[in-house]
């Protein structure tokens, strides 16, 4: 029974990683690719770690698997956030079919009215 659960977890985790890789190839700009990676690949790693933990039910494996899950969950959004801001600053073009660009709107507003203190504090377009 246990080997079926472990197999399903392994296969679904690797399929999620495959979906992330397909997203990296097929999606049209940096921001969408970041979206594919940070969600799908993290979920794939978590599912595969669950498979290892079910197959080797020991304390040390549990602690290390929890550490990996914690690091992935904590760091993937932070890294993607910083990279997305820098890419926006580098004027990497946004692909077809986007609806709104709120960061660009905030930067424009700040450049038009540099004395707006509370605006600048709440948006903080200068600080990356």
């Amino acid at each position: 029974m246990m080997e079926w659960i472990v197999s399903i977890l392994l296969i679904s985790g690797s399929l999620f990683m495959l979906v992330a890789a397909i997203g990296v190839v097929k999606l049209s700009d940096v921001y969408m690719r970041m979206h594919a990676i940070t969600k799908a690949a993290s979920l794939g790693a978590i599912l595969m770690l669950a498979a290892v933990l079910l197959w080797h039910p020991q304390w040390i494996v549990a602690i290390e698997a929890l550490m990996v899950v914690l690091f992935v969950i904590l760091t993937a959004p932070i890294g993607a956030h910083m990279l997305a801001r820098v890419a926006h600053r580098m004027k990497v073009p946004i692909g077809e079919g986007y609806v709104m660009d709120e960061l660009q709107e905030a930067i424009d507003r700040k450049e038009m009215d540099p004395d707006a203190q509370e605006e600048g504090k709440s948006i903080d377009a200068e600080k990356l």
Binding site: V6, I11, V68, A80, L83, V86
Partner: protein
């Protein structure tokens, strides 16, 4: 630990994961070579780190040695440092 040969479904799952992760690595390599901008290539580094974690986990299932999970911990930490370092580097390159 029991060997994988006793469980044919698990054997299939391990080799299926190896196949999926290898295809994903080649997809990442395509984006690494063809990516139009520098952030594209940094994003691929993130993907490859996740894929390597997956490969290590599949290898743990294949060999039955959970010691290799240490490597996954180290990689999960290092890739975050790499991301932050690249972001800082690009930011400094814009500011100059």
């Amino acid at each position: 630990m029991e060997s994988l040969e006793a469980y044919p479904i698990l054997n299939f799952a391990v080799y299926f994961s190896f196949a999926c992760l290898t295809v994903s690595l080649f997809a990442g390599l395509y984006r690494l070579l063809a990516g139009p901008s520098l952030p594209d290539r940094i994003v691929v580094m993130d993907l490859v780190a996740s894929l390597v974690i997956g490969l290590i986990i599949t290898y743990i299932m294949l060999t039955g040695q959970p010691v290799y999970l240490n490597v996954a911990v180290i990689i999960a930490l290092l890739v975050f440092m790499g991301n932050i370092a690249f972001a800082k580097y690009l930011k400094r390159r814009i500011d100059l």
